[in-house]
Symmetry: C2
Subunit: 698 residues, 2 copies
């Protein structure tokens, strides 16, 4: 029986990776570049393009960090915000009720008065950047142990953030770059008055569902549109992206501006081995456990499905991403390339052993610290990261508990998430009226408590105390049934009442958090001390890299604003060339191939519009840009800075991009700007919105 | 927000468990009784019923062990076999092709000439029973270590089985009972000429799918009908079950005769702790991993879904059963009851310490052996149980490898599955023309290899050899792409050619099995030695239990024929009473509630027949019988020995039944005999079949 070629293809995809670790010049559309250090050389040599300071500033000030980490952009003078449906999904879900299911049925506001306020959404625009490396490093005593150094570093960062916040009133975050080789102060203009303008039906937004996620060719209208207000009026913006007339052509140079969440391209082999052998397998298994839990519960009724739908897509997406990362780590070609790069770098260090003494020792120090982290990993994951206490309710209860303990402390001595700089975001989240479903909370907490017991052991003293003589499910039912923190007003009162109020409440869920907190804080402290040792080691390696290779490198992604460049381009797969673009006719064809069955079912709006829609309009497309999770919702612009596409995914071959970009086959996936207009107009009749996008104003 | 009562209900369900471990008389419809030691006392006291020897023999000889462990019964003189669709599913799948999808579309043979031969199906009828305890125990040298004792026990069992086979030509299996307190020789009349007569569409058979599995109220037509032939003609049977005119009434005493697979009601606390802390969590996580792997692959295309469908329901069913078992083990009431029973038993032993010296030491010996087994568990699961090498292809390859090594040995020295007594069954399986899909094999083997690596470590020497410098997926593609064992003729040639042929083949999959085999055999040997120590300990406990409590007890289930008794009866759930029976009208109603969407979709046949079907006919019902996995397909009969129902499931509350039966809420779920006739006649127009069932002959 002949085998499907896809499965037999030997994965050669990492043959050309890891240039970032070596001294060789970057000869690819690679890199998530700082706006303060754009890839001038690469753009000049490969594309004869020189971005001006104004060009960069305009793109930066048109770019948005959406909520807690995803991306978006301004696309009209009157504050229209373009992002992905899956980025706005949490917000759209919060605005939905059984009677008004915006997730399922979509939404269009024809006039600003119809737009729906979003209760707890924060958008940030990067207003300015300042290098504070010297001040941060000076505050950390040389030779201090991990705990002391971490505390000192945290303290100075909190000081810088607070000073800046007070001086500028701008949200101020100190960003770690180059594994601690640099620290930058990012000041953000914050927008919290946001309204929903448009969302398609979920079926069209995530057409193809989990099966098509990370796959290509693709047919998703993963689009959502919001509008930003100030003082009850739509903002008037000096910077926004103008709409391109035709969108991108194949081979055309374009740019992506967004917030890649995290890459691990500068990790040492010891750190990579930890991910391969410990962190990723555990995360993947847990995601699969959660996925089955939610899937089987959702299947019992339509209302269960609606409730689970707020959590499930994230779990499935995370599982696919994690398994993709594991596939990369299990690829011997990839592993050998990484190993070779590290060996070469270490050989370079040996050429001037005295100069690089600290860097040479760093590998061993990092490996030792990593060993500590590996040993602590299960407890850290279960206790501090609350893997043993899943659900929104526990997170709220612990925030209340810790806020009461942390807020009275001096700013620099608090856990960072309770720092003054994080106040607005913290309170926005804590007081969010997002619906919390007790049955789903019991389901998730019960299973998490059982996972806790299975991992630490049913006779572990902490587990015994946590379960309090009950089964995991019964214990979860007890604390969720008894807690008052699902009520926003109660939360607010407890938060404002501080320690006395929180203690007096005798809330069973807060008391559960209290029971666990000493152990959780202790393991966090130990992990952070080990992380600090790694930071110092990576710091030494970063310095050596600057010395040996110059500064013409980009740092690993850290949820901070980055610029990627590339071209619209197909890719080879099993001897075939996958074309760069799909079209709208293909959407209808794929639905028919699956007899319009979920997740390949089109909503009535799209089915009815088929004759009106121009099937030749490009729909989704792939490009060589170096992106990763967090880039969702990023705008793609052309040389003229015009909006040509909306990033929403990567292909399967890009799932190793955490560790290395592979220009040969790794691809970003976007919605074409022309498809956005065509669908808005023909499927939704959103004439006013199309006009605003075309004109750049209302 | 009020909580759904179901989730808040404290699980009190094990309050009355574990009488089996104490001296108290059994005061419940409890027990999976031997036909040689039926529950005469209980039946007399509770139900004033005395089964005669003829009654028992007739039921035994009408009962069938179906394939490798499930249950069925003869329901006509002319060899009609009644079982569940999910029991016959593997066979129906094997008879299906993309062009003739019997699983999806169902099947009905109106005449014997239309019946379809099943290629590799074996049915067994328990012809006679002989107690061989004395001979088995005499052959095991007193005081021998685990390895020697296990070998001696295996040897004498193989001798007994072979002698019996040669003398009687009947399949002869020595069955371990009471944890080794007794050994019985079971002789089976074997039928291998079996044809498919009737199967409903899969959608009707498993209506409600995974969401409704183990749930109640229920609406599944989980029925399949076969016919047994000898020498090309339907058999003429002296024993078969006559059809009841009206089926069971509520509260009426009925009996279930079938093959419960395994219970663990006599385990010590050390053994239960192993299941709770090691075995079950690992199995559950692996099942969830497999489930997500198969679900996400199946979702990509309809053909993938068809292929995965052969494996997926078993994985989902196993996951739900395992999680149910874990829920029981995590129930503190259950645990305390088990603990109390063990404590009481140990106190009884202390009353005559010298007499029970061996039993008193047994607890410690069992705990020590269990510790060894716990340590070996991951390697045993991955290597010997092939959890690191999932798929049909590897199993075939290893069978060929081991057959070449084992078959030349004297019968008593072989691994039991290569004994002469197992020859026919082994060859039937090995040469089965069941379709094997290379893409699915690569998917499963690739993920299993990665699980192997994740568990034993990427740098474990055996893992390094197994992966041979490739990624798990690439290695799986290589060996599945290169193997010839998917071809039945090749298998036959290699099996017959022995060692020389197997070596000469240089088949990459067989060579992979060879690479792993020394380690797999070694860990098996160690585990079996520890199991033997446990057997000896349990043997001593069983003897003490006979002394203290008499023989009026039933042994744990071991896939051998058992008799359960009970009544049709609803049960309380969250203050409501769940009625005992559903009806056919309820089926249509539930489909409508789910807008006829999968898995709540009715096939066209059932939709079209709605007006003809009498909605008041009882459909599924629950009863108090003590059953477990393996009982699927068991007949339920009334006092007159007439067929009144077809067991196909238990409710969620019965999932702890592995460890204790809970008559209060644990229930068996059956298809009502009247529903079988009504649906056959009105939905399928199977007039001839209905007539044969009613008359008991063609």
């Amino acid at each position: 029986m002949p085998l499907p070629p896809r499965l037999l293809a030997a994965p050669l995809r990492f043959a050309a990776v890891a240039t970032v670790l070596t001294a060789a010049p970057l000869a690819a559309d690679e890199g998530m570049w700082l706006f303060t250090a754009p890839p001038r050389e690469q753009l000049r040599e490969r594309y004869q393009f020189e971005p001006s300071a104004e060009w960069l500033e305009h793109l930066r000030l048109s770019s948005i960090r959406f909520g807690n980490g995803a991306s978006a952009s301004f696309v009209s003078e009157d504050g229209l915000v373009m992002t992905n449906h899956h980025v706005g999904r949490g917000t759209i879900q919060k605005l939905s009720t059984p009677e008004r299911n915006l997730l399922q049925n979509g939404f269009l506001a024809r006039q600003p008065k119809d737009e729906i306020p979003c209760p707890d959404l924060e958008l940030n625009v990067l207003a300015s950047i300042e290098d504070v490396t010297t001040r941060v490093n000076a505050a950390v005593p040389h030779g201090a142990d991990g705990v002391a150094a971490a505390a000192a570093r945290r303290k100075v960062i909190a000081e810088i953030e607070k000073e800046s916040l007070e001086a500028t009133k701008l949200r101020s975050d100190v960003i770690k770059l180059y594994q601690g080789g640099q620290y930058h102060l990012y000041r953000y203009k914050r927008y919290t008055e946001v309204k929903l303008v448009f969302a398609p039906e979920s079926d069209l937004a995530k057409f193809g569902g989990d099966p098509d996620n990370f796959e290509y060719p693709r047919y998703s209208f993963d689009v959502a549109i919001f509008r930003v207000y100030e003082n009850g009026q739509p903002v008037k913006l000096p910077h926004y992206l103008r709409w391109s007339k035709n969108g991108p052509a194949e081979g055309e140079l374009t740019f992506v501006s967004g917030h890649p969440g995290r890459t691990n391209r500068l990790l040492t082999m010891a750190e990579l081995a930890f991910l391969r052998d410990t962190a990723y397998p555990a995360q993947s298994l847990r995601q699969k456990r959660d996925e089955v839990l939610l899937l089987s519960w959702a299947a019992r009724s339509e209302e269960n499905a609606r409730r689970a739908n707020n959590v499930l897509p994230g779990v499935q997406n995370g599982r696919k991403a994690r398994d993709g990362g594991l596939a990369a780590l299990y690829d011997p070609t990839f592993w050998a390339a990484k190993q070779r790069a590290e060996t070469e770098f270490r050989q370079q260090l040996e050429t001037t052993p005295e100069k690089f003494a600290e860097a040479r020792q760093a590998f061993e120090r990092i490996a030792t610290a990593q060993k500590t982290i590996t040993e602590l990993a299960p407890r850290f994951r279960l206790l501090e990261q609350a893997g043993g206490f899943s659900g929104d309710a526990f997170t709220i209860a612990r925030t209340l508990l810790r806020a009461a303990e942390e807020l009275p402390k001096p700013n620099g001595q608090r856990l960072p998430e309770f720092g003054d700089a994080a106040k607005t975001s913290r309170e926005l989240q804590l007081f969010s009226p997002k619906p919390i479903f007790p049955d789903l909370e019991i389901l998730r907490l019960g299973d998490a408590l059982q996972a806790l017991s299975e991992t630490l052991g049913a006779e572990d003293p902490l587990v015994v105390k946590v379960l309090a003589g009950k089964s995991p499910r019964a214990r979860a039912a007890e604390v969720i049934g008894g807690t008052k923190v699902l009520d926003v007003a109660t939360r607010r009162a407890l938060y404002q009442g501080g320690t006395a109020a929180v203690e007096a409440a005798r809330d069973p869920l807060i008391e559960l958090a209290r029971l666990v907190d000493p152990a959780a804080r202790e393991v966090r402290k130990q992990v952070e001390a080990a992380e600090e040792v790694k930071t110092q080691g990576q710091n030494a390696l970063a310095k050596a890299r600057f010395d040996l290779q110059g500064t013409g490198r980009y740092p690993d992604a850290t949820s901070s604003l980055r610029l990627s460049f590339g071209v619209v381009k197909g890719y080879p797969e099993n001897g075939r060339n996958i074309p760069a673009m799909t079209d709208l006719a293909g959407l209808y064809q794929r639905a028919r191939e699956h007899r319009n069955q979920p997740p390949f079912d089109l909503p009535a709006s799209a089915l009815q519009a088929e004759k009106k829609v121009n099937g030749k309009v490009p729909f989704n497309f792939v490009s060589t840009h170096d992106i990763i999770g967090g880039n969702s919702g990023s705008p793609m612009v052309n040389r003229a800075g015009e909006f040509v596409g909306l990033i929403f995914d990567g292909n399967l071959q890009s799932l190793g991009t955490d560790f290395a970009h592979d220009e040969r086959v790794g691809r970003a996936v976007s919605v074409h700007s022309s498809a956005i207009l065509e669908v808005l107009e023909k499927v939704y009749g959103a004439t006013e919105l199309v006009q605003e996008l075309r004109r750049g104003k209302r």
